[in-house]
Each structure stands twice: as structure tokens, then as C-alpha cells.
């Protein structure tokens, strides 16, 4: 039950795109058609579910203040937390590379769908953001961290598919010329963000 709450919080209330603007660059660039948006969304969920737990283990057993205590008492007062940025991004970059190779080997059809988006994801702020928020939130178990990764990935997925669906329809709309393209996408995202603010009222 607690995990379900965490999932809903991560997906809707603390939506990556509308509350924190994570991953906006690829969000705006890849949201022109629903099909590509769907592929990128799936890839983001996938990578978040893998990287957040791995970074959680790294944080708990290597980086946190006193986390090295398992190696022996003389390591107990080492604080490596200043290294967390570089470690997280290195983990993310290598996992993305690894995931890309594994998917290519074992599921060519999934690779065909995700292929071009996987390398893009290494520099998607939503992924690093997920890990950094995980670090801030101090989850008790690795299960919480995984569910958090799944939830925030799902929230990102919904956001990009919704925007892509709206932008496909916009072809038939008569928009003022200076606002066409990026301007309109910003405006729509803003309005969708206002709608998503409604989830703040839920008490979960």
C-alpha cells in the first residue's frame, strides 16, 4: 500500500515534467508524433527503473556519510558524498550503453523501437534527476527506490504522450505565426501543468 502511494505520488503529484521540468529538452524535441513519443517514453521508464536502484545501492554502500562502515571500522568516518554527481552520471552513462547493447542482442524489435532514443537518454535530466531525488528522499529499502523510479518514469511517459497527441492535432489549428513550433509547445505544457496542479489536492 505504501509502495502504491509512492508510485502515484511520483507519477502524478510530483510529475517530473510539470513540477520539476526534468527532461524538457527531449520532451519538446521528440513530441511531434505520438509514435516516437511513445518509444522515448518507454525507454525513459526502462532506464529509470534500472538506474535508480543501482544508484541507491551505490549511495547506501559507498557514497553516504559513513556508508563504507561495512568494510571495517576504520572506514566508518569516510564521507564521499561530494563524489555523488560524477558517480551517478558515470553509472547512468554506462548503464545506458549496457542496456543498449543487451536490448540490441536479445530483442531486436524492442531495439528497433527504442534504438535511436537510448543514447539520447544518458543526457536526459529526468534520469539524473531521478537519482538525485532518490538521494534526497532517503528511501528505507531498495524496493522503494525501484518503485520511485518506475513512478517517475511513468509520469514522464504520460506527459510526453499527452503532449504529442495534442501537437498532432495542432496541425489543423490556426496559430499566430510567431507562436508556431516551440512557443506553442511551451504554452501547452504550461496549461497541462496547471491541470496537473489539481493532483496536489489529493491527500496521499
Amino acid at each position: 500500500m505504501e509502495l502504491l502511494k509512492l508510485f502515484i505520488r511520483a507519477a502524478f503529484v510530483d510529475n517530473m515534467v510539470f513540477t520539476f521540468f526534468f527532461g524538457m529538452c527531449s520532451y519538446l524535441a521528440v513530441s511531434k508524433t505520438v509514435k516516437t513519443a511513445f518509444g522515448l517514453g518507454l525507454a525513459v521508464i526502462f532506464v529509470l527503473v534500472v538506474t535508480v536502484p543501482v544508484n541507491y545501492l551505490l549511495e547506501m554502500y559507498v557514497l553516504k556519510d559513513g556508508a563504507l562502515a561495512w568494510m571495517g571500522p576504520e572506514y566508518a568516518d569516510i564521507d564521499l558524498s561530494f563524489l555523488s554527481f560524477i558517480m551517478f552520471i558515470a553509472v547512468i552513462a554506462s548503464i545506458v550503453q549496457l542496456v543498449e547493447m543487451v536490448v540490441e542482442k536479445f530483442s531486436p524489435s524492442l531495439y528497433g523501437a527504442l534504438g535511436i532514443f537510448l543514447p539520447l537518454i544518458a543526457v536526459n535530466c529526468a534520469i539524473l534527476g531521478g537519482s538525485l531525488f532518490m538521494q534526497q528522499k532517503n528511501f528505507p529499502t531498495i524496493g522503494h527506490a525501484t518503485v520511485y523510479g518506475l513512478g517517475s518514469g511513468f509520469g514522464w511517459f504520460i506527459a510526453i504522450v499527452l503532449l504529442a497527441a495534442i501537437r498532432e492535432r495542432l496541425k489543423y489549428a490556426n496559430i499566430p505565426a510567431p507562436l508556431r513550433g516551440v512557443g506553442m509547445a511551451f504554452l501547452i505544457t504550461g496549461l497541462m501543468g496547471l491541470a496537473f496542479l489539481g493532483f496536489l489536492g489529493f491527500n496521499i
Binding site: 521540468f21 552520471i89 552513462a93 543526457v123 531525488f133 501537437r167 510567431p178 512557443g183 504554452l187
Partner: protein, 222 residues
């Protein structure tokens, strides 16, 4: 800049500096680095600190990558760039924590997210990897300023209309004691403090910018 260095600012170099401010603005035209641009703009001081941090990482990153451009193997260039940027961001983060702890607290994870700020990666890829150090520095300064410009403009409106203050000074009077504009019934717009308003402000900025320079309009986009 002193007069001795004047020769360094040829026409091409000046363009490197001025283009990102308007015609090729990283946020509104290239659509890069929006993640952090929107999230830190509730208060002016956060926006200014963030722009300075990005400017620093950008200039140093451009310089280092440009110096190393013939040594980096192209297969692992993304990882090399990420490591350089991450090291610079760690420096920025530690400096912020040491000297402006409050701002560092309110920027929270967004300092770390400078690493994945697409402006920095984008400029490293597009410019620093193929150009000489001096040009890369100018490119870094230009794009850093272009990014900062949007941040400060958005933060200006958000803070002014959202809480009636600028940099913490009460412009419209005190809302609790009902002085200044508040005494005649003016009220702060709470919407301005919420995340979606920065998106709408940037949209309006793009609208005005493209209206003034019609060459930027993309007729076929939707």
C-alpha cells in the same frame, strides 16, 4: 576589455558573443537547457546564482574540451565530456555550499542537473570539439549570457508579480501590513509562484521575440 585585446574581437568573434543573446538564443531558439531554466526562477537571486554557475561551467568546459579536442577519441567523447562537466559542477556545488549556503539549499538538485543541462553538452558537441580555445571561450560566454538573460527575465516577472518583491526588496509595499499598492486592494498573483507560469512566460517571450525578428518564424511548424 582593454584596448590591447581589441584585435581578438574580430567581427566573427563579436558575432559569437552577440548571436546567442537574441538570434540564436540557447533557450528560446535552440530549445536547450530548459529543465533548469524554468525550475529555479521563482526568485531573482536563485536565477542569478544559477546563471553564474552555468556560465562558469560552460566557459571552463568549452575551454577544456577545446584544448583536448584532438586527443579525445570520438567513440567515447560523450563520456569524456560528461566527466569534465561533472568535475566542474562538483567544484561549483562545493563553492556554493561553502559561501552561499541558503541559495545552495533552495537550488537543491538543480545544481547537480547542470551536468545534464543540454546547453552545455550541446555547445561542447557543436562548437568546442571543432574550434580553437579563444573562440570556444567566447561561445561559452555568449551562450551562458543568453541562458542567464532568459532566467533573469522570467525570474523578474515571477518574483515581481508573484510576491511583490525584487531580490527580496518589497517593491509594491508590504502585503501583510497592507502598505503601498496593497492598501488600495492590489493582491499578489499566486499563480506566478507555481511552476507552470514559467512555461507560459517563456512562451510569451518567444512570441514577442519572433514577432520582432520575423526571420525566426518557422511557418511549417506545428
Amino acid at each position: 576589455m582593454s584596448e590591447k585585446k581589441e584585435a581578438l574581437f574580430s567581427k566573427k568573434n563579436k558575432k559569437l558573443l552577440s548571436d546567442p543573446l537574441n538570434l540564436n538564443n540557447p533557450v528560446t531558439i535552440q530549445v536547450l537547457g530548459i529543465c533548469s531554466a524554468l525550475a529555479v526562477t521563482v526568485q531573482m537571486d536563485n536565477a542569478i546564482v544559477m546563471s553564474v554557475a552555468v556560465l562558469f561551467v560552460m566557459v571552463m568546459g568549452n575551454l577544456i574540451v577545446s584544448l583536448l579536442r584532438n586527443l579525445i577519441p570520438s567513440k567515447i567523447k560523450i563520456i569524456v565530456q560528461l566527466v569534465i562537466v561533472a568535475a566542474l559542477v562538483i567544484i561549483v556545488d562545493q563553492v556554493l555550499k561553502a559561501y552561499v549556503y541558503d541559495v545552495s539549499k533552495s537550488l537543491s538538485v538543480f545544481v547537480g542537473l547542470i551536468i545534464t543541462n543540454c546547453i552545455i553538452m550541446g555547445r561542447l558537441e557543436a562548437y568546442a570539439l571543432g574550434n580553437k580555445p579563444w573562440g570556444s571561450i567566447l561561445d561559452g560566454v555568449g551562450n551562458g549570457l543568453g541562458y542567464g538573460l532568459i532566467l533573469v527575465v522570467v525570474a523578474f516577472f515571477k518574483e515581481l508579480f508573484g510576491s511583490g518583491k525584487l531580490l527580496g526588496f518589497e517593491i509594491f509595499g508590504n502585503s501583510i501590513e497592507q502598505t503601498g499598492l496593497y492598501s488600495i486592494g492590489y493582491e499578489d498573483n499566486g499563480l506566478m509562484l507555481l511552476p507552470p507560469s514559467s512555461l507560459i512566460l517563456v512562451a510569451i517571450y518567444i512570441w514577442i521575440q519572433k514577432k520582432r525578428t520575423p526571420s525566426l518564424i518557422d511557418e511549417n511548424a506545428n
